[in-house]
């Protein structure tokens, strides 16, 4: 039972399915160089170049998979898989990680997107809503690149507010995102920390910040922060910043005594890490970008003065 689907799954993941070729045809800026020798040892793992020019991954002498592309980056090797995933092999560790593009897409969905597969919405819906056309275009671009599907675009007005909405109804996409824990429940999100390398963390945060980030201006001073109604998700975002060696402030709760309210949480990035935030995380939202440029200008002015 299930043998056929397991084989297909294995082929899709490890034996270069259609999407892998699509991935390979694109420019992968993260790839530094191909494995040069015929045998490379990474802890328990051995990568052997076959006569056909493929790369075979072995563990304890047993073959795990074949790949047409293998890229070395510092002390690890990355093998492109399907649907925006990479197999990362380093000293004793082998894990599936998200490509930077998929990490960003997951960040966007976690903030302004949603996933439905309920009695009322039985069609494995994945959606993204925004008032910014730029953000919608970015989501569309990432989605097409990762899944090869173009989401349906709807634009509408709701008394004074204009919204763009992108929707897909694809079982495969839905469960791929579900498995990563992107949206585990109603009004919840989780950061797939186990599946993110440093670049993935940065891009995930950038995606999330483009939706649920804020940059307040108090006089000439700025405050960069992230807010959410999902405290668990926000705690993981904080951890993600810490993994990147940021020092985010504690999560603060907009405390309300009345039971009618739902809770909102937020945390901010210290002022002395704003420039690092701009360089490493940033955003796709035009109004955010404008403010980040102002912060950058202010920083340069101060630096010149000092």
């Amino acid at each position: 039972m299930g043998g056929g689907s397991a084989v297909r799954q294995c082929e899709r993941r490890f034996h270069q399915g259609k999407s892998i070729h699509e991935d390979n045809s694109g420019s992968d800026v993260r790839c530094k160089k191909e494995v040069p020798g015929t045998n490379n040892v990474f802890g328990k793992y051995v990568i052997r170049k076959t006569k056909k020019g493929e790369y075979e991954l072995l563990k304890g002498g047993e073959s795990i998979g074949w790949f047409s592309v293998a890229v070395v980056k510092n002390d690890r090797v990355l093998f492109p898989l399907s649907q925006g995933m990479l197999l990362e092999v380093s000293e004793g560790v082998c894990r599936e990680i998200l490509t930077p593009e998929k990490a960003e897409l997951c960040g966007l969905i976690a903030s302004d997107g949603g996933m439905y597969s309920t009695k009322a919405h039985p069609h494995h819906e994945v959606h993204f809503i925004s008032i910014d056309r730029e953000l919608v275009d970015r989501y569309n671009e990432l989605f097409k690149k990762i899944y090869g599907i173009e989401p349906h675009l709807h634009s509408y007005k709701k008394r004074g507010g204009s919204y763009f909405e992108l929707r897909t109804y694809d079982r495969g996409v839905y469960f791929d995102l579900w498995d990563l824990g992107t949206k585990p429940g109603a009004f919840q999100f989780r950061v797939p920390l186990k599946h993110l390398d440093e670049e993935g963390l940065r891009r995930y945060l950038s995606g999330f910040f483009s939706g649920d980030g804020y940059i307040t201006k108090d006089g000439k001073q700025y405050r960069i922060g992230l807010q959410s109604t999902c405290k668990d998700g926000l705690e993981e975002l904080r951890k993600a910043f810490q993994f990147l060696r940021f020092h985010p402030h504690e999560i603060h709760f907009w405390e309300k005594e009345k039971p009618r309210w739902r809770d909102q949480y937020h945390f901010s990035i210290p002022v002395n890490e704003h420039m690092r935030f701009i360089n490493e995380v940033s955003t796709y939202r035009p109004d955010h970008l404008k403010r980040l440029r102002e912060i950058e200008r202010q920083y340069k002015r101060r630096k010149n003065r000092d």
Binding site: D112, G113, G114, H127, I129, I131, D132, K158, R159, G160, G161, A186, F187, D212, G213, Y214, I215, T216, K217, D218, G219, K220, Q221, R223, G225, Q227, T229, H249, E250, H252, W254, K256, K258, P259, R260, W261, R262, Q264, H266, S268, P270, V271, N272, D287, H288, R291, R302, R305
Partner: protein, 218 residues
């Protein structure tokens, strides 16, 4: 007290009305005296968190109020994200306890008092002494303004917003009130209340620029 979230970001906009009506038709009992329909939202450029609530004792108005309050919130200037529409059914007249009757001038004076108290708190703090010496202290506290509005359509409407910039906060509350009055959900402003707690507010971040030291309090 029964509470339910009848709408969340990403749901069809029409669902706020239909879900509210469904919920009320099932849960409104003889003992139920009042319903509070609440909007939990944020203006995302500035990070102004806000709530709008309307109270009614007429179950037939609940769906309409949920829909119209959602429209008011979404129609505000800026990048508004409405997180939830929530409904609370109560066996008490909960709106009667919602009294915010200070004048705006009093609220402004209260804010100034809060600023002064925070500056004094910083000056008295031995850990901060070296840092603040010879510098002008600029405090940026996160505060909340609640506004009570009377209404012909509902029993009462409450607006509540939190921000670190007092002027922006006042302007924001004003824009929400204006919209509520224009949409005939509210008739006029009854009063305000500033919520801040100097004792509870703690320094979150510090920025020194020349002879000024900026301090954010949350």
């Amino acid at each position: 007290m029964n509470r339910a979230t009848v709408w969340g970001w990403g749901d069809d906009f029409e669902a706020a009305r239909t879900n509210s009506e469904k919920y009320v038709s099932k849960r409104w009992k003889e003992k139920t005296k009042e319903c509070a329909i609440g909007i939990t939202a944020i203006e995302r450029l500035e990070g102004t968190s806000f709530y709008i609530a309307a109270f009614t004792s007429d179950p037939k108005k609940v769906g309409d109020l949920a829909d119209r309050l959602l429209d008011v919130a979404l129609g505000l200037k800026g990048d508004i994200k409405v997180d939830f529409v929530t409904i609370v059914l109560s066996e008490d007249m909960i709106s009667e306890k919602e009294l915010y009757r200070d004048s705006l001038r009093y609220v402004e004076e209260e804010y100034k008092r809060c600023e002064k108290a925070l500056v004094a708190k910083v000056r008295e703090d031995p850990k901060m002494k070296a840092k603040v010496q010879g510098r002008k202290i600029v405090v940026i506290p996160e505060v909340c303004i609640t506004c009570e509005l009377d209404s012909d359509y509902a029993n009462k409407v409450i607006v509540d917003a939190t921000d670190t910039n007092f002027t922006r906060l006042k302007n924001f509350i004003h824009s929400v009130n204006e919209r509520l009055i224009k949409e005939e959900l509210a008739k006029g402003i009854v009063g305000f209340k500033l919520t801040e707690d100097v004792e509870k507010l703690k320094i979150e971040d510090i920025d020194v620029e020349g002879d000024k030291i900026y301090m954010w309090f949350v």
